[in-house]
């Protein structure tokens, strides 16, 4: 089994996803099968091959840095979740504690 329960819990935490116990069990089994299948890539000799991030013959795409119309504050805030807006701001829980 290439991936264990503990690793799934750790990676889910990195991905900021809360899982139920049932999901942890199922994902451990299912992703083990998937990782076994992808592990076959090790068979391919890539010792002299460069990685491709993209297949396009494009490199640095540049444009002038000019101001353009964008969303209004109201448009940008219109989809704020319930309780997630405070005037002209998105509201979130505090992240800094007072000493």
């Amino acid at each position: 089994m290439p991936i264990d329960r503990q690793t799934i819990v750790h990676v889910a935490d990195l991905a900021r996803i809360q899982l139920t116990d049932d999901e942890i069990g199922r994902f451990t089994d299912q992703l083990s099968v998937v990782l076994d299948a992808v592990a076959r890539l090790a068979e391919v000799d890539t010792s002299v091959v460069a990685p491709s991030a993209s297949t396009l013959p494009l490199h640095n795409v540049e444009r002038e840095d000019e101001a353009r119309p964008g969303l209004t504050t109201e448009q940008a805030l219109a989809n704020a979740p319930k309780g997630g807006r405070d005037g002209e701001f998105f509201r979130v829980q505090e992240v800094l504690e007072e000493r």
Binding site: L14, I17, R40, S52, A53, T55, L56, E94
Partner: protein, 484 residues
């Protein structure tokens, strides 16, 4: 209930002869969309569609209207539509109303097309059966106990069931071509770089392309003509000279070399699919094309490359769904806990699986072994296609190893589900265009024939596809289940 004309070409002729108005055509499409029995639609935009239809009639009355004027179309609900809810079939985006439209929608608006509504899909386009939608599976009109394919299942079915004259989908590993095959319509993925992704919910950015579903190859070329082109808002779009994508449709395949990769005729393939595709190859030979053996020996490894690169890019793209600026929020004891609960409860199982797989492949200690290794094999896969296209003008294969399977048959076996895309995902890895066209029936269900061409050679691809379509008329077959 009034049925729609069979194709865009037919409808455009009727509109120009004043035998039908855009309003009448749109009302017919709206009525059919409301009567849909396949769960193909997440939203039908009556008022918006009628307003667009009215503007289309004005334009037609003035003359010189572009070919898509007044043509009703269906938009996969992963493509942003200004003022119209866009959910990606996820609970986490329920209620999200985009403040701007995707470039592809703006282009179709400018071309006079009429947006009927938003179609169902696998959540965030992650799936091959449309069973991963938070809003229920889509059923296949050819047999409602079967899946329509995915992830763009709703768009494929809207066209197959005559509820829209074309639809847009997105294709990251086969999500247009595979449902096109399983639902019996034309489904096409353009060359990476042809079509803007601006305003489309990002999935795996080095693989995603937007493309159309239509009834015929000619209609496909007409829609592509409106979609293709440079967008300053998407730096991956190429600035190419304008071309008429229909120019080669009537040229036939005499003298063309058609590549046949033996690696695409695998053990797991259904006999009926293999028979239909072999017949298609013989038809090409009969028309004077030369069949050429090409080798795509890394096809088998494509699945592994794809199931590293795609979830890795997705895990990064979907980091934005944190419940802060839009979508659903599930409040926790602190901000970190809010993120975890929002994402844990907002995403469905398949999305969570891929987030975990992708995060794992990108995490310290595994990055080189998985992600960089996959990108290196990607280089080799692209090189292998380059060598193949030195020997042929197009590659013809089955689109999917099977016809439409039963709803529920593969939901607990992710790897079996992933294998549905084994013939389509190499095209995404290499950035190539591919189209699936109807190739007859096997046990009463549609088979798809995939035609791939070299980068930016869509007109050759359409030429090869049209030659088969015109000789066989498989595209005129209709599902029995279709509402009369």
């Amino acid at each position: 209930m009034r049925s729609l004309p069979g194709t865009i070409t037919e409808a455009a002729a009727l509109l120009r002869r004043r035998e039908i108005t855009a309003i009448e055509l749109t009302d017919a499409a709206l009525a059919r969309a409301h009567a849909d029995r396949f769960n193909a639609w997440l939203l039908v935009a009556d008022d918006h569609a009628r307003a667009q239809a009215k503007a289309a009639d004005d334009r037609l009355a003035r003359g010189s209207a572009p070919p898509l004027t007044g043509i009703p179309w269906a938009c996969k609900d992963i493509i942003g539509t200004k003022g119209i809810e866009t959910t990606a079939a996820s609970k986490i985006l329920k209620g999200y109303v985009p403040p701007y439209s995707a470039t592809v929608v703006e282009r179709l608006d400018a071309a006079g097309a009429v947006t009927v509504g938003k179609t169902n899909l696998d959540e965030f386009a992650m799936g091959s059966s449309n069973e991963n939608s938070a809003f229920g599976p889509v059923k296949n009109p050819w047999d409602t106990t079967r899946v329509p394919g995915g992830s763009s299942g709703g768009s494929a079915v809207a066209v197959a069931a005559g509820e829209a004259l074309f639809a847009l989908g997105t294709d990251t590993g086969g999500s247009i071509r595979q449902p096109g095959a399983l639902s019996g319509v034309v489904g096409m993925k353009p060359t990476y770089g042809r079509v803007s992704r601006y305003g489309v919910v990002a999935f795996a950015s080095s693989l995603d392309q937007v493309g159309p579903f239509t009834r015929t190859v000619e209609d496909c070329a007409i829609v592509c003509q409106a979609l293709f082109g440079k967008d300053p808002n998407d730096a991956t779009t190429m600035d190419l000279a304008a071309e008429d994508l229909r120019r080669d449709l009537d040229r036939g395949v005499k003298g063309l070399r058609i590549g046949v990769p033996k690696e695409f005729f695998i053990d797991g393939m259904e006999k009926g699919v293999e028979r239909a595709v072999r017949d298609a190859l013989r038809e090409y030979e009969r028309q004077g094309a030369e069949l050429v053996d090409v080798s795509l020996s890394l096809t088998d490894h494509g699945l592994a490359v794809y199931y590293i690169i795609q979830p890795a890019e997705a895990s990064s793209n979907l980091a934005r769904y944190d419940g802060v600026r839009y979508g659903q929020r599930v409040e926790g004891r602190d901000l970190l806990d809010t993120y975890r609960r929002t994402r844990g409860q907002g995403f469905g199982a398949e999305v969570k699986r891929r987030m975990i797989l992708g995060t794992y492949a990108l995490s310290a200690g595994y990055y080189d072994a998985y992600y960089v290794k996959a990108q290196k094999v990607r280089t080799l896969i692209k090189a292998e296609f380059d060598r193949a296209f030195a020997k042929c003008d197009a590659i013809v294969t089955p689109t999917s190893p099977t016809v439409a399977f039963k709803i529920g048959a593969k939901v607990n076996d992710p790897l079996a589900m992933y294998l549905n895309d084994v013939f389509t995902l190499p095209g995404n890895i290499a950035g190539l265009p591919g189209v699936s066209i109807p190739c007859g029936l096997s046990e009463g269900l549609p088979v798809g024939l995939q035609i791939m061409a070299n980068s930016f050679q869509e007109s050759t691809m359409f030429r090869v596809a049209a030659a088969y379509e015109r000789a066989t008329k498989h595209h005129e077959l209709r599902p029995k289940e279709m509402a009369a």
